[in-house]
Structures are given as structure tokens and as C-alpha cells.
Symmetry: C2
Subunit: 413 residues, 2 copies
Amino acid sequence: MEDYEVLFSAYEAYKQRGKKLDMSRGKPSPKQLDTMERLLTAVTHSSECFTEKGTDCRNYGALDGINECKRLFGTMLGVDWNNVIVGGNSSLNFMYDTVARAMLHGVVDGCKPWSKYEQISFLCPVPGYDRHFAICEFFGINMINIPMDEHGPDMDMIEKLVAEDDTIKGIWCVPKYSNPGGVTYSDEVVRRFAKLKPKAKDFRVFWDNAYVLHDLTDKPDKLLEIFGEAEKYGNEDMFFEFASTSKITYPGSGVAAIASSAKNIARLMKELSVQTIGHDKLNQLRHSRIFKTYDDIVEQMKKHMEIIRPKFKAVYTVLEDELTGCGISWTIPNGGYFICVTMPDGTAKRTVELCKEAGLIITNAGATHPYGNNPRDNIIRLAPTFPEVGELEEAAKLFCICAKLAVIEKSIQ
Amino acid sequence: MEDYEVLFSAYEAYKQRGKKLDMSRGKPSPKQLDTMERLLTAVTHSSECFTEKGTDCRNYGALDGINECKRLFGTMLGVDWNNVIVGGNSSLNFMYDTVARAMLHGVVDGCKPWSKYEQISFLCPVPGYDRHFAICEFFGINMINIPMDEHGPDMDMIEKLVAEDDTIKGIWCVPKYSNPGGVTYSDEVVRRFAKLKPKAKDFRVFWDNAYVLHDLTDKPDKLLEIFGEAEKYGNEDMFFEFASTSKITYPGSGVAAIASSAKNIARLMKELSVQTIGHDKLNQLRHSRIFKTYDDIVEQMKKHMEIIRPKFKAVYTVLEDELTGCGISWTIPNGGYFICVTMPDGTAKRTVELCKEAGLIITNAGATHPYGNNPRDNIIRLAPTFPEVGELEEAAKLFCICAKLAVIEKSIQ
């Protein structure tokens, strides 16, 4: 590693340039969105607004979504499309709603609403997604950290906790290309989830399959389909799976879906009927018209990969050049939206702070953990999809300088 | 009135024809939807997806909606557009969410969540909208009937109840062209709402302005704007106003909004940020591009009126011809989507039942009241917008026969 003085003067040079850089946002770039222009003209005439069943998508109705779009998600997720509800533009909103309903109504007959407990808990594999944790925090649900390794969350710990404590009611999972670690759960991890024996009958797994098709290589990870496994143990009611086209078509105007057991979906339909008359079917129809077959989606995902992959590579190159031998490691995921950097303990926050002072925005170091608190202060999430390559290289270089400065500062404390 | 035998044989003739008729659905007809075809092509190129501020509507963000669309609702409702949040396609969903959040988080600092009370109540002006009542029922909120007259709900009763009982937390109002009575609240009623002094600090008025622009005559009703009045008494935090373009553009793919005080909106933004990253901005943009000025909306509403008015008139003609002098009355509203028929007590359910047996679907007679229970069993809601005129005339004739049969049956009991 360079001397502190050398690094510091390089840092000061960046700072004085005053350029604004941003690697905080896990959002697609305009170029990616441009590949979807045909979505805007997928339905342009009144006569085209009807589903294969003849439903007028302009009018009220079809609470569970249109069949064409339900099948699309069925294929994407490898589940029975009859057990899919297609909704609005936000899978996060589906997750929030699912927790909110569980708080006020419970999730299964004969179990009281979660809000009637003095305290309930969710298991939170870490590092994880801050918006999952925010939902728990909003509803006053206690969060318990579960460590992750390259195979997924610590299943020994999960099995033990859920078997012992019936106030543990849920767990957040991003089973493929996890946010931010990029981990895809191994077949063994998925199988152990499928046969979990929680003490609480109303324990639920929130299986957020946000990156189901979001590969970054030609040899993508494969995730075992959860409902097929769970059914072997009669455990299919334990899972709510979520997905969306936010990072396939448009983040703001995609389509989200929830999949679950037939029993859960029937219950959900009753509950949803109080909430809305139906979601935006025209947008569902647009998606079905663009993606007539599974291959059409695969084709689209290749376009995303072609745009994103060079960005990840640009960052890797800088990280390799600048951080090799510094006690800092990073993920090279086969998909997803993030690079996850592991720093020496106690240096992540300081790194992000140094970045910020020099004009580079990075996601807050604690955001990967419940309550914004990573006890080891060692994880940083980099999001390379939005900026262009040149900007990314600059940002990555500045990040490396800040990381090394933070490491040196820590070592001389 | 004709003899029972004459009526009954006419009824049997209808029955044997076996034709299916439907006056149950308050939804626009295909012809109305066809007038909005330009919405489908309002945004067709990637370069057109940006707001006046430069926000890319395809991507994440803009939790409160795009400014263009916020202003649109500000103008429609006569409120400050800064105090508007534009959301997805369903104002019902906004209402549900608002009650759900109140249940779990309360509506104001220092007051406990509504779910922490043994029992809370909502006031429900009747006849009213069954989907409002369904939300209360879903959350276990007790409902208290408030009679309506041609000026609005019984304000003496409301003032007395809310002053005495701090477990009364809300009231459902459709202040213009009420569903189903077609009543627009008088200025005096609006002013008495504006200066209500509820015992509960967390009492809230759910002001569902669903028919704000939905006139059926050239001399439409005028509703006093509620926030302007409420501010005179420092009462603006007491109101949540809801509206949508569901019956202006497309019921399935419209845009919904909530308006409230600056304080409530700020609180709501914090809460919403946990729920979603943002609603469908592209659809908001489509609406803003179609409706550049208030006049553009007025123009559109005229098209709806031209299509709907003859349908209402067709029903009135039959009702006048068939029911005059039978002790049955009906509304002739200046706007909205319904004709509300008042029958002799104890004959509404039987009328709907007779209709159903002969193939005519009418909204269940109790649906206008909480718990589906109208103690007087005297109100029937007719929805004439969806069927074509010929079909409506047939349906109205059959309805009249059933109504008279029910009245005779009752009289000879």
C-alpha cells in the first residue's frame, strides 16, 4: 500500500476538483431503459386493449392480474401460474402489504395477528437489503442478524432459532444474486428452507427473487425452485415469493408479482379485494405483448447484461489494481446489481465518509444491516449500473484511495 | 298499479326469455373508454419520458408523483398542489392504506394506533359506498349509520357523536354526487364539517371526492372546497381527500391522488417511503400530457356526459311510466354514476331477488349500508352507465315489474 501522504495528496486532488460522483444507486442506466422503448408502443389502439379472454384492460376488474401476465411470472419463477397474483409497479409494496396484513390479520386462520404479540422478530440474513429492514423497523418488528456465506444464510442458526422461538415470524431472503452479497443460495440451503420446522405455525419466508433473471455472465447461477421443494414437505404455505420487471423493463413502470401456495393465494385474494378493485391491467398487457415467450425475456436480459457487464469489469479492474494486498476483498457475482466490498473491521463507515467529503456518494456503510448498524463496520455496497464507464473508473479510483486511507487511519489509532 | 296477475305474467314472460341483464356495475362503458384512446399514445418514445424537471419517468423515484400530475389534481380539487401526492391507479387503495397505517401507527404524534383501542368506530352516512364499509369491516372498525338528506349527512348527529365519544375516529364522505344518493353536500354542511370539534384528536374525515367533475347536466352542483374552509378553524389536519381519474380516463389505468394538510402530507411521505420507491410515473406523465390544462379535463368530461346522460334519461322515462303513483321514488342527480331508488320499507331485497331470478343483476339491496344491512330494507342502487340504451330500457322495465310485485307481495302479507 502507498504511504499515507501519497494517498492523502491524491485524495486532496480529487476533493479540490469538486466533481460529483455516485455509486450508491442500484438502478438501471438510461441506456438500459432505452432498450425497452417498444414497451411504450405495445398497446396503442382501443381495439388492442383486450386480453386473450376478452377482458377490457381499460376497465375495472381482474384483481389477480391478467392471465397472460400471470403466466409470464409463472414461467419466470418456475411456479404454477394459477398461484401468481400480478399487481402494480412495485414488489416492495407487495412485501410491505403482506407484512402489514400479517400485523393486523395474521397469515393463517387460528393464529392471532402479529401486532397482538408483545414483540415479534424477523431473521435478517446480513449483509442484506435496507428496504426490507425498513419495513420491519416501521412495524416495530425486532430484527436478528443471520450471517451469510457463499452458500446462503447460516442454516444451522436459522433452524435452531425458528424451532425454539415461536415469536420469530419471518425471514427476509434474496435467494439469487443477493443484495448486496451477490450470493445465490445453494441447493442444500434451499432444501433446508423447504423443510424448516418452525415452532410458529405462522412463520413465513419472504423470498424476494428480485434478480431471478439478472445474470452478468454466460454461466449464470441456478437457484432451485422453492415451491417444488417445499411441497415435498407440505411446507408450501410457508413461502411468499416476490418478483418484478423493475430491472427488466422499467423500474418506475414495471409489473410486480407475488407467488405462493394455492391456500395463501386464495386468502390473499379475499384480503386484496378489500384493498383495490384491480391493478393496472394495461401495463400488464403491455408486458405480455412484449414478452410473448420466455425467450423474449431472456433476449431482453442479454441486452441488460451487455450494457452492465463492462461497468462491473471497469470497477473490478480498478479494485484489482489499487486494492490487491491491502486486506480488502470484494465479490465478483454472476448476477445482480452490486459489488460487495469487505473491509477490515471498523473501516467501512470511515471510507464512505471520506468518499462523501470528496464528492463520491456511496450507500451508507450500515445500510446492509438492520437498524443501519453493522457491528463489524466492514461492509460496503457499490452499485455500478447507473454511471457510465469513465465516471465509474474515476469513482472506483477515488473509492480505493478512501478505503486505503481508512485502513491506514485505523492501523495507526 | 296493475293487478298482481298482470304483473306476474309479464314477469314470467321476461323470465322465460332467459336474457341476462346487468345494472349493478358503476363502471364506464366501452364507448366512454374509446374517447380516451389518445392516452395510449401520449408517450411513445424514450425521449418523451422526462418530466418538465428532467426526471426520467421510466426509472425509480418521485415518491410524491411528478409535478405536472400533482398540479393537475391540485386544479381538479381546488387545493394547493404541494399538498397532493399522486400514486398508482386506485384511490380505494390509498383509502385502505390510510386506514391501515392509522391502525398500526395512528395518524398524529401523541395518539396511539387505532388498533390499540378495544374498539373504535367510524360514522357512515347512509346510503353509502359498500367498499368504504368493507374497509371498516376488514379492520374490525365498528360502523354507525348516519342518515343523509338532500343537503348531506345529518350534521346535528355527527357533531354530537364526535364531541362525546373519543373512540369515534373517522367518517366516510362522498361529498359530491354521493354514491348512491347523488347528493352534493351543501355549503352549510361543508362548513359544519370544517369546524367540527371532535373529542378525539385523531379523528379523520375521509373525503372521497370520486365524482368531483362527473356532471350529468349543464347546471352542475358546486361543492365548497373543504381545505379552504377547514383552515379558517385550524382544522385542515382533520381531512384526507381522495380522487382519481378512474372515471375520467380509464378505471383500470387511471391515476389516483390524496390531498391533505402540509403536516399530514409530510407524515405520509415518511410512511410511504417505507412502502414503495415510487408509483408509476409514466402513467402520470401520460395523464399530464393529455390534460395540459383544466379545460382539457372539462372537455373530456363533456364527452362522458354526452354518452351517459341519454342512459340516465332512458331509465328515468321507464321509471316515470311504470312507477308513478306506486309509492316508489328515485333520485335525478346532477352527476355521479347512480340512480337511487327508495322503495316502501321491507321491499328492496325482495325486488333485487325477483330481478335476479329473471336474469337482471342489481346491486344487493343491503350494500348501501354497513354490514350489508339496511334496517329499513328500502334502498336500491341502479347503475345505468355500462349497458347500452336498448338494454337499459329492458332492464328498467323488468326492474319496475319486480319492484311492483314486491310492493304488492308486502301489502298482502
